[in-house]
């Protein structure tokens, strides 16, 4: 076995791209959820002007939180995939 620098470079790019998608993309999505939730709550804005609660924004926030939750759940199943197959005999198609 020799050191394949091209392969290392390729793998680095892969780790970087997937890492950015999940490691920065999910926090971005989550932040959008928090922002929507804040808008949904209404109350006094940073400018001191009172805003009415917006149920649609609140609902949007929960949709986003659910989506993030699903991705995390997928992550959990992904880590435990082999163990689930081993202990329960269920082969997950992920």
């Amino acid at each position: 076995m020799s050191i394949d620098l091209a392969e290392i470079a390729l793998n680095t790019v892969k780790v970087l791209v997937v890492g950015l998608l999940l490691g920065a993309g999910l926090p971005l999505l989550f932040s959008l959820g928090i922002r929507l939730q804040d808008i949904g709550h209404g109350g006094t804005g940073p400018d001191g002007v009172a805003r009415a609660p917006q149920p649609a924004a609140k609902a949007g926030a929960w949709v986003i939180f659910a989506a993030v939750g699903l991705v995390v759940l997928y992550g959990l199943l992904f880590i435990t995939k082999k163990s689930i197959a081993h202990y329960l005999g269920i082969e997950l198609p992920i």
């Binding site: 394949d4 392969e7 793998n11 490691g23 928090i34």
Partner: protein, 423 residues
Amino acid sequence: MGGSPAGAHDSTVTAEMIILILLVVTAVGFDFTNGFHDTGNAMATSIATGALKPKTAVALSAILNLIGGFLSVEVALTVTTSVLNIQDHDSGALLPGLDAQTAMFIIFAGLVGGILWNLLTWLFGIPSSSSHALFGGLVGAGLAALGTSGINWNGLTGKVIIPALLSPFIAGAIAAVGVWLVFRVTRGVNEKHRESGFRAGQIATASLVSLAHGTGDAQKTMGVIALGLIAHGTLTSQSIEENGLPVWIIVVCAGAIGLGTYMGGWRVIRTLGKGLVELDAPQGMAAEASSAAIILTSSHLGMALSTTHVATGSIIGSGVGRPGAKVRWNVAGRLVVGWVLTLPAAAIVGALTYLLGAGIGGIGGAVAVFIVLLALAGFIYYRSQLQKVHAGNVNEEWEGADAELTPASDSPSQTRLENGASR
């Protein structure tokens, strides 16, 4: 004994059994240090931002590490192949021509190198990689035993050294982008909603890192113990392939890493959570999300990165990406020195340990190595008690740029008072 062939054979058998037992005990000890050394990788951010109370954080992390250990069904049986040429790359069986005692002494000495380096870096609050410490110890012991032909140099460079050099930058970049986006999007959001939302996110991501750590790292010790048993001849790689590992190995390793995590490597947690950057909840969440994403995906993408390097890189990155935050680069520099030293330092300890053990040979050698290990570990523990870091003072202010890694105000007498008061 009398020099009769049968008697000599019996004494070899006894000697090998005792070496094996000490090897297994040492491996479990390594697993334990692996637990408390790495607690901070998952939990430092949550502890620093107050998302979780220190004790709650380590308890949660310990439980997830324990569960993770039990989830390790696919054992890293070929754990040494990336740095040593003592095992078959596919089956994990010992290479022919290597006698049982030599192989066991290499593994034993490698573990001792790993433990002592883990303890020393813990004393100084340096989050260094436990797998690097183990690999370093093994390389040193392998060099002492077999010379340069015993080392898988390409594996060492391509699978250990290069990824270690790259991982802090990869993790740092991802966390920096993440934290920048998070602050951009949540600008102007009510502080209360922001704080509570991100705290929940932090706990979730930290939990993922803990679980992944238990799955990955407990496996390594299981692999090492299994290799010891293979070297001794009690177990064959075929039987592991067919029936899996003996259950006691899984129970003991998962338990040791969980217990180690629960002890909480407070010194390392303090450096990661308070020393590098001042963290708040959104920042901590971005850092831990970056760590979780990389740790969970990198090995599937052909590059196994050390949890410690990734976590540290992410925390630094979260300071780089956040407008107005400042990173204590002198602390970061100290950690880098620790990382660079990890492989050679653990290798020197591993080599010396091998020479001591194999030089004396047999039971005497193994017992001597074990006594030296206990004495040095005891000394390091004693030193750590002179300046304690614990759940009560882990979050104290990091004073000045040149602050010591341990809290300044924590004189021994005060510690006693605090402990007394909290009980």
